[in-house]
């Protein structure tokens, strides 16, 4: 950086005229920031306005903040219940995904046995299949197991569809870990399970955090699977509930309540992101860099 900036003033550089910084890059970056942030900000501000203000002056600030909108969305529009449902389903699915995914990735990365490659490719191939293809039979599989519209049903299906990427990501991660520590633990009399849980899993922490964040967001934002497998309105997850709310006639006229519901759905994720932004961006992009 210093070298680059020093260059124009060095004697080799021909023009001695002072360089004016080009305003275009800064302007372009600023414009895109506005385009990105403006709709989000607008939704947050609108969630504090009255219906009348929303309808008649969409660009103005609220005269006095209507916290009642949020309360109404949380209770009367059931956003609170949907939030809670999402927490249960995503929490359970995330735990199951991380446990099963890391076990499979570790077993395939560190043990040689017949069929190892076959199992690996069975998991990896599933990442390239569109979920739409499986949708119809999946509905009947879940129905026959009596799991339609239940938390365990959603948790199992969420995990089943999140495990392949987790295996793919952690497989290469476990390969790069040094084997000396594991060998020493085996010599000390550790069982295979103990080596995994006490030695290798802690070593793999950075990878687990990255793929864990990726999975959390993917599962939290899941829509297609619950839409088909979770028909009971009492068990709607957040995305599903919000979508239902936005098209239901009853809430069509309650603009302020809808804006509040929308804000409740997006604000926690954005706040958590600003707090842990470096980790989260690394985790989200890690999958594509691989």
């Amino acid at each position: 950086m210093t070298l680059l900036q020093a260059r124009p003033t060095s004697p080799v550089a021909a023009p001695a005229a002072p360089k004016r910084p080009n305003p275009l890059p800064g302007l372009a970056m600023f414009c895109w920031a506005v385009v990105t942030a403006l709709p989000l900000l607008w939704a947050v501000v609108s969630s504090f306005k009255t219906d009348d203000e929303i309808l008649n002056s969409p660009w103005s600030l609220p005269a006095s903040p209507q916290f009642d909108n949020w309360a109404r969305a949380w209770t009367a529009a059931s956003i609170g219940r949907y939030f809670f449902n999402s927490l249960i389903v995503v929490g359970g699915a995330l735990l199951l995904t991380m446990l099963l995914g890391s076990l499979v990735a570790y077993a395939l990365a560190r043990y040689e046995f017949r069929g190892n490659r076959l199992i690996y490719y069975t998991f990896v191939a599933a990442m390239f299949f569109p979920v739409f293809l499986a949708l119809v039979p999946l509905f009947f599989v879940v129905q026959q197991l009596g799991l339609l519209g239940t938390y365990p049903g959603l948790i199992l299906v969420y995990a089943a569809y999140a495990v392949p990427f987790t295996v793919f990501f952690l497989h290469s991660f476990f390969r790069t870990l040094p084997s000396e520590i594991a060998e020493a633990a085996v010599l000390d009399g550790c069982s295979h399970g103990a080596v995994f849980f006490r030695v290798m899993l802690p070593l793999a922490r950075p990878g687990l955090v990255a793929v864990g964040i990726f999975n959390f967001l993917g599962l939290w934002n899941q829509y297609l699977l619950p839409l088909v497998l979770n028909p009971d309105p009492d068990r709607y997850v957040l995305a599903q509930g919000l979508a239902a709310l936005s098209v239901s006639q009853g809430y069509r006229s309650d603009w302020s309540g809808l804006f509040a519901g929308l804000t409740i759905a997006m604000l926690p994720v954005l706040i958590a992101y600003v707090a842990f932004q470096r980790h989260i961006r690394a985790g989200m992009t890690a999958g594509a860099v691989k």
């Binding site: 680059l4 599933a126 293809l133 499986a134 999946l138 495990v163 829509y223 088909v228 603009w255 997006m266």
Partner: protein, 296 residues
């Protein structure tokens, strides 16, 4: 130790494999079989009809609308997103680090939101009377341009494209700027010394060296463009309208299966979508291999 090894391997692999076979592999396999039947959901009453479903797909005008719309999305969304992403990422390279960090944080926001949240948000933005877009246009004196964006066949699909692009540019800015940071600084300095302008630096230095990231981006964005279900289903009128203007394959499939109960026919749509995705992935991988040979 040998005994413990097998017990550990079985314990590690079997639960995940059972889950995988029951909920992932078997549904995929069944879908291919179902697409050759006229099954309507009654157990044991699936008649084998051969390729009938596929023949019918060819004459189903709504499905053909969906194919045309997905093809348009596939053409426009990845290209515009990648162009904007590369442009902003190379701008970020030259900006001060504090400001650049701030922009990265903001650009990434939409990536964290569910497509449902994004679709609901943009349905408010596009609202003809109270929406951000039309009232903004009126405020700056362009009221004549105000539209009912999602109800006009000419604009509805463009409106969907804008939402998809808006929601994904930030992710690729971050991805590309990570790749650009991986390029040795000396190369940019050498280009500067050789008198290369901004465009030459970009096309001769930056672009060739981030090519792999761009290819990955094409695959991911292509898959997203072949989907587009959530945005279309939540945001557009009908959904899928007006007049099939925003119909997509996923929506046709969903409606055919879960509203009309034609599960065999819907599965044929799923198989068609699968082959489209497969073609995309193979094309991207093949061009990737060629590129590597040229470099070597």
């Amino acid at each position: 130790m040998k005994h413990g090894r097998w017990r550990f391997l079985l314990g590690a692999l079997v639960p995940a494999l059972v889950l995988h076979v029951v909920f992932v592999l078997s549904p995929y396999a069944q879908a291919f079989w179902l697409s050759l039947t006229d099954w309507t959901g009654v157990a044991g009453e699936a008649q084998f009809v051969g390729a009938d479903n596929y023949v019918r797909l060819g004459g189903d005008s709504l499905f053909l609308d969906a194919v045309r719309n997905n093809a348009l999305l596939l053409l426009v969304v990845p290209l515009v997103t990648i162009a904007l992403g590369l442009f902003l990422a190379s701008m970020l390279r030259t900006s001060s680090s504090r400001l650049g960090q701030g922009y990265r944080i903001v650009y990434f926001f939409p990536q964290l939101l569910s497509l449902v949240v994004i679709a609901v948000l943009w349905s408010f933005v596009y609202n003809p009377n109270t929406g951000l877009l039309n009232s903004g246009l009126r405020a700056v004196g362009l009221g004549a341009m105000a539209q009912s964006w999602l109800a006009e066949p000419a604009f509805a699909l463009v409106a969907v494209m804008v939402v998809l692009i808006w929601s994904s540019v930030g992710f690729y800015v971050v991805l590309f700027s990570a790749a650009i940071e991986g390029i040795p600084r000396e190369l940019f300095e050498a280009a500067l010394l050789d008198g290369a302008g901004k465009w030459a630096t970009f096309s001769r230095v930056t672009l060739p060296l981030v090519r792999e990231s761009v290819q990955v981006a094409f695959v991911y964005l292509g898959i997203a463009a072949l989907d587009a279900f959530a945005v279309v289903q939540v945001m557009t009128v009908g959904p899928g309208g007006p007049d099939g203007a925003t119909e997509v394959i996923g929506l046709s499939l969903y409606r055919t299966a879960f509203s009309y109960g034609k599960f065999g026919y819907a599965s044929a749509m799923g198989v068609a979508l699968f082959f489209a995705t497969l073609t995309l992935a193979v094309l991207a991988l093949r061009s990737g291999r060629k590129e590597r040979l040229e470099l070597a």
